[in-house]
């Protein structure tokens, strides 16, 4: 009989300990999180953020280009990054890129070519499928890559060509760092 009673006391004691720990973890941590939030909000309200080190904005390369930017501004044939988009449907994750000459230059294939695309994961994709077309007086290139799901392009490798003499072309490799790319869900596919 005393054994049973002491066993019950043991059980009671361990259950009380469990409850104590559950209250500390399950209620104490949430209360702490909320108090810290309140403190930080009040602190920012009254002391501002000037004293804090900048930590909110992810640094972006100053050379990173986004949709609408012009590449090779100083060259004889600047190119506009007309469209840069990741299109997603249920099963696929495609990157679409449209480049267009700022002017109405002829024979663009002699001046620019896409070499490869580097992704966030570190993987490099070869040039993909593209062709130059002239539409509405503007010469443009449409390129498309099938990406691994969830991966994001970070850099585009191009080559520009400079005609030095009738039988000599100088190939200049270029690396273009890409800014954040919009992702759009495409329900039609």
């Amino acid at each position: 009989m005393p054994d049973r009673r002491s066993g019950q006391n043991e059980n009671e004691k361990s259950r009380k300990n469990l409850v104590r720990w559950l209250v500390i973890l399950g209620i104490g941590i949430p209360v702490l999180v909320e108090l810290l939030t309140l403190f930080n909000l009040i602190n920012v309200r009254f002391n501002g953020k000037d004293n804090e080190p900048p930590h909110t904005v992810e640094p972006t390369s100053e050379h990173a280009v986004a949709q609408g930017d012009t590449l090779f501004n100083t060259s004889a044939a600047p190119v506009i990054l007309q469209e840069m988009l990741i299109k997603v449907n249920a099963q696929e994750w495609d990157f679409e890129l449209v480049l267009a000459y700022a002017g109405e230059e002829a024979s663009p294939d002699a001046r620019l070519a896409i070499d490869s695309l580097r992704l966030q994961s570190g993987m490099t994709l070869t040039s993909g499928e593209y062709e130059w077309e002239t539409e509405g007086g503007r010469t443009q290139l449409e390129a498309e890559w099938r990406l691994p799901s969830g991966d994001i392009p970070t850099a585009l490798f191009l080559s520009t060509f400079q005609q030095l003499s009738p039988d000599s072309i100088n190939q200049i490799p270029r690396q273009i760092t890409l800014n954040k790319i919009p992702v759009r869900y495409n329900s039609d596919q």
């Binding site: 259950r15 409850v19 559950l22 209620i27 909000l41 920012v44 990741i86 994750w93 969830g150």
Partner: protein, 567 residues
């Protein structure tokens, strides 16, 4: 003798409803966990971002519409049967509404999950709000319509029992648990008129191709006519538990019968005329009508605060019965080792926090700060995701033994579960609110790539820290959910059989029905008033929308009714 032995037919119906509810909870909860990891960029290996809306729709529909509706049906079958002391009147009718809802659920679920099948044309990635321009397969809308019709029949079943009971007890007051269930269903009837019209008249013909163009404003308005009241359809059964059962679990008695009835009446009156507060950013609705909705919404704080007072007073009474003393010291005497009590109490605390963020949502001007940001899901994970879901889970630890005639199994795991849910939800929701203040959008798999403000600036902390807080919170929540399902499954199949698996006696309120004015039981009066308030709230704005060319999209707007009245 427990409920199973006294009312075996009703117990079977309740169990069937709970089974469906818990399956929906398991699948919907898993989808939520996957999304939390995906959109915070912590782990993206489960699915392609293109499937995000399919999973989000599954998460929302299975949890907010299916888990809740079936759990509420099971709870009210238990509550109405027990309080009126009658088995359902006609079991064929009772099972017919259950199976109708199951067929509807299956149709909706198949269309949603069809989105995960390569090449499938059966899809419903329309989110749980499902209004245009997003379009689902027609079977999705038919399925939802069947679930709603089934729920109407369920309500009719309980009113049938009530009418039979009334014939035998002409001079008695409606028993409080039955009163709460019936008034919840009255509110459900009033608010589902809007969504029924939207689905049957607008969405089904549109999805079948019979109508090619649809003006989004009308379906949005009809949805939100229903869409806010549905929150109270989820909450009132949680209130039902807090009023009817939590005082007993605290060791005491409900503080006031009349206060409880008044709260449910106010919710019947005010739940539906507030829908416009979800449309503050919608064009086509005059700002005056939105202001009216805001004022009505803020009035709804009154019954919530009354509930806060009554429930805490009841808990304090219980604690003092257990030897509690002092102004606050009595809190320590509450049964913090009883999972059913702990879950309900923590859910109530979380609801108070959700109420504070809800005030910001409801206020027209500051709403714009957080509109369509992740703040909004942060808010409703406190209200629906905890106040309702945790209450339902917690009270299952007390109800399932009564319905199965088996003692609760894995009591330690059951005790850990509500605490872990509270911890996980605090972490997740706190970070969601803060990220919302920084402008992080809701409803996207790629939050950082879908906004002009690509570099979010949190008030404090970093985006990466918030993402991790959401992911860790979501992980704790899914572990808590697994614990819950494990305990329930263990109890259901392997719990020790007993005639009295749980103490199911519910004492009378401290201030009983003898102190309650008889007018509070006048169902016709309160229903009529509720309908009048709905007509007042919605007739003028709808007239204005028609004047503005609702049925001729693209037409120039005409002067609004306000201008007609003024000039």
């Amino acid at each position: 003798m427990t409920f199973l032995h006294k009312y075996p037919k009703a117990a079977k119906v309740s169990k069937a409803n709970f089974t469906v509810a818990f399956i929906a909870l398991a699948i919907g909860g898993l989808f939520g966990f996957i999304q939390a990891l995906h959109r915070t960029n912590v782990f993206r290996g489960f699915f392609n971002s293109g499937d995000y809306y399919t999973l989000l729709t599954g998460h929302g529909v299975l949890l907010a519409l299916i888990f809740t509706t079936f759990f509420i049906a099971g709870l009210f079958v238990w509550g109405v049967t027990r309080s009126l002391k009658r088995e359902p009147e006609n079991m064929a009718f009772t099972w017919s509404w259950f199976w109708l809802m199951v067929i509807g659920l299956m149709m909706a679920a198949v269309t949603i999950l069809g989105g995960l099948v390569p090449g499938s044309s059966i899809r419903a990635a329309v989110l749980y709000t499902f209004y245009p321009p997003l379009q689902a397969h027609p079977a999705f809308y038919f399925g939802l319509a069947l679930v709603i019709i089934g729920s109407w029949m369920a309500g009719a079943d309980w009113f049938w029992s009530y009418n039979k009971w009334r014939k035998n007890h002409p001079d008695e007051r409606i028993p409080l648990p039955a009163f709460m269930a019936l008034f919840t269903m009255l509110m459900w009837y009033v608010c589902t008129i809007g969504v029924a019209l939207e689905v049957v008249v607008l969405l089904i013909p549109w999805s079948l191709g019979w109508v090619t163009e649809i003006e989004p404003l009308l379906p949005r308005t009809l949805f939100w006519y229903f869409g806010h009241a549905v929150v109270y359809f989820w909450l009132l059964p949680a209130y039902y538990v807090w009023y009817a059962i939590l005082p007993k679990l605290s060791g005491g008695r409900l503080f006031s019968d009349s206060m409880t009835r008044i709260v449910f009446i106010i919710f019947l009156l005010l739940s539906t005329p507030v829908g416009y507060h979800h449309q503050y950013a919608d064009p086509g609705i005059s700002v005056g009508f939105k202001f009216y909705a805001m004022a009505t919404t803020l009035l709804l704080l009154l019954p919530s605060l009354m509930t806060l007072f009554t429930v805490i007073a009841s808990m304090e009474h219980g604690a003092r019965q257990r030897g509690g003393k002092g102004y606050l010291k009595w809190i320590g005497k509450l049964p913090w080792d009883n999972p059913a009590f702990v879950g309900c109490a923590l859910a109530g605390i979380m609801f108070a926090a959700g109420g504070f963020s809800g005030m910001i949502n409801a206020s027209m001007n500051i709403n714009l700060l957080i509109h369509n940001t992740i703040w909004v899901p942060g808010h409703f994970h406190l209200t629906v995701g905890t106040a309702v879901a945790l209450t339902f889970m917690a009270i299952s630890y007390w109800l399932i033994p009564q319905l199965t005639g088996r003692k609760l199994k894995f009591k330690t795991l059951a005790l850990i579960q509500p605490y872990s849910w509270f911890l996980g939800m605090t972490l997740m929701s706190n970070a969601m609110h803060r990220a919302g203040l920084a402008g992080v959008p809701r409803r996207t798999a790629e939050p950082e790539f879908n906004t002009n403000a690509m570099n979010f600036e949190p008030v404090f902390g970093t985006m990466s820290e918030m993402d991790w807080q959401i992911a860790i919170g979501g992980t704790i929540l899914v572990i808590s959910l697994i614990l819950f399902l494990w305990v329930i499954a263990g109890t259901w199949w392997a719990g020790e059989k007993s005639d009295n698996p749980v103490d199911d006696y519910i004492p009378e309120p401290l201030s009983g029905v003898e102190h309650t004015p008889a007018i509070l039981d006048n169902i016709k009066l309160w229903l009529s008033l509720a309908l009048i308030l709905v007509v007042l709230a919605y007739s003028f704005p709808l007239y204005e929308m028609i004047q503005d060319g609702l049925f001729s999209p693209g037409a120039l707007p005409r002067p609004s009714i306000i201008l007609h009245l003024l000039f």
